[in-house]
């Protein structure tokens, strides 16, 4: 007699005789959280998404131009401070205040644009990329960045316990764990020394993105958490205005201690329509392509399109990811290559690769395959 595993799995999921948990707290649902808590999380996520997307489209681009004129072009830093200070103050750091008086510098607080993969015969893992004080040139108005800070005592203890078993020759070992010690970190953006944007950590931490780094030889542990920070002015009943183009400085701040990192440079480029208007005839209409200069397009075998688009910012790949957000999932290319991803739409597989031309201009190569 054989065992029907598929049917057994279906029965296991759809069983109706599950006993009631007598230890469940009042208000707890079958998924382990109250509906009210879930609704609150959904609302926060929607706010973050809306503010990040608020600059998409012709109308929003016009509004952005207006903001740029009012805040930067015509009135200068003093009015920028007034504008920021008049916004609702729900952030950990006071908007409109000089950065120098709101925080002390903590060298252990850092920002990193990406984490890199390291390989050796004994181990592989993730490490913080070499320090850089430049966060790049962004066309979009979302800063995707890793905040690095002090892990909580519990995480430190767990990391240390696992690290002691590392084999001779390895210097670092890694694990992944939720860590409120860094997931509460906030990013603050300043212009001309004044805070103009302050994130709410609860809405910016990317779920399940915490990486813990334990250095066996040095006996130290640090933790990094991925943040997706909307670059909007401090207002916040759901949304300030997208920050205008210009040069800014960003800091990661520990709301618990008030300490901040040293400054990181951030240049925001003018922000136009997010989607490329001059797509070649016949290109699938359900595949959004980031705005830029179309360098090359070709179709092969009637099923595969290749487009090369030159973009101005260093955030082309993340902008492409957001435009394709309607897709169900993003799959990083094999081997941990963070310069490329593939996703699957209803009628096409889309691979996007970020590279740089010989002249140093960033480009995105789209490969779209239809069945």
């Amino acid at each position: 007699m054989t065992f029907d595993l598929a049917q057994a799995l279906r029965d296991a999921v759809e069983r109706t005789d599950e006993p009631v948990d007598p230890t469940a707290l009042p208000g707890t649902t079958p998924v382990g959280a109250s509906v009210g808590r879930l609704v609150a999380r959904v609302r926060r996520r929607r706010v973050a998404r809306n503010t990040a997307r608020g600059v998409v489209g012709v109308g929003a681009a016009g509004a952005l131009a207006l903001v740029g004129t009012q805040v930067v072009g015509g009135r200068g830093a003093g009015d920028l401070r007034d504008a920021a200070a008049s916004a609702a103050d729900g952030a950990a750091v006071a908007c409109g205040e000089p950065v120098s008086v709101v925080a002390e510098t903590d060298p252990d607080l850092r920002l990193a644009r990406s984490l890199v993969t390291a390989e050796s015969p004994l181990w592989s893992g993730t490490a913080v990329q070499a320090d850089s004080s430049d966060l790049g040139r962004l066309e979009g108005r979302t800063l995707d960045v890793y905040a690095i800070g002090h892990p909580s005592d519990a995480v430190t203890a767990a990391a240390t316990a696992s690290a002691v078993t590392a084999p001779a020759g390895s210097t670092t070992t890694y694990t992944v764990a939720a860590d409120p010690g860094v997931e509460g970190l906030a990013v603050v953006v300043a212009r001309d020394g004044l805070v103009v944007s302050a994130s709410d950590a609860a809405t910016t931490a990317v779920a399940d993105s915490t990486v813990q780094l334990a250095d066996v030889s040095a006996g130290t542990v640090t933790t990094a958490v991925g943040l997706s920070v909307p670059l909007v002015s401090c207002a916040t009943d759901g949304g300030g205005e997208a920050l205008p183009a210009g040069d800014y400085t960003a800091y990661v701040v520990d709301p618990g201690t008030g300490a901040a990192s040293s400054p990181y440079r951030l240049r925001l480029l003018p922000h136009d329509d997010e989607q490329l208007a001059d797509l070649p005839s016949g290109f699938p209409t359900d595949v959004p392509v980031v705005d830029g200069t179309l360098l090359r397009s070709e179709q092969v075998n009637g099923t595969t399109w290749t487009l090369v688009v030159q973009v101005a910012g260093t955030d082309g790949l993340t902008r492409a990811t957001r435009l394709l957000d309607g897709a169900d999932a993003f799959f990083p290319a094999s081997g941990g290559d963070t310069d490329e991803f593939t996703t699957y739409l209803d009628q096409a597989a889309v691979t996007v690769r970020e590279s740089v031309t010989a002249a140093g201009a960033p480009t995105l190569t789209y490969r779209v395959t239809q069945p």
Partner: protein
Amino acid sequence: MADWEEVLDDLVHERGPALVRYAALLTGSTRDAEDLVQDALVRTFAQGRPLRDTAAAEAYVRRAVFTVFLDGYRRRRLWTEVRHLLARDDALDGHDQSASDRLDVQAALATLRPRLRACVVLRYYDDLTVPEIARQLGLSDGTVKRYLSDAIGALEAVLGPVPAPADLHTVTLLPTGSRR
């Protein structure tokens, strides 16, 4: 209360247990499954889709459970691939308990290493083909086949013979020799 909030409320209470049990097949832990379902619910309803009935919403959430699980799987993969070189895998700690005492499929699944368990669920519950599983998990076809073989071997020791699932794309041979 907004429409989506009512749908969320209904979905959590009516289908929450089934969603958690599905997620538990992947995670091997009810606690992790609850977290996974919560994240999937938040991700789905934060998209702003016009979700007006629980059946449609459940389909999206079930897909999101799968996606969130895979996202976490990929992040953990680098570590889990080498962790056995550094320390004993926690997931194997339950192996000393006699699996033969557990005739329950969930208990049998729980004895598998996470990557093997994921392959089994994707193959036998989600009806994915080997190439599809390989693509989703970022593995080669051969590795997935080996994982499935190892997993089924372990499950058969507890559950008895487990036949291979029918291929999703069955080719029917007709007497004329043509195919359809």
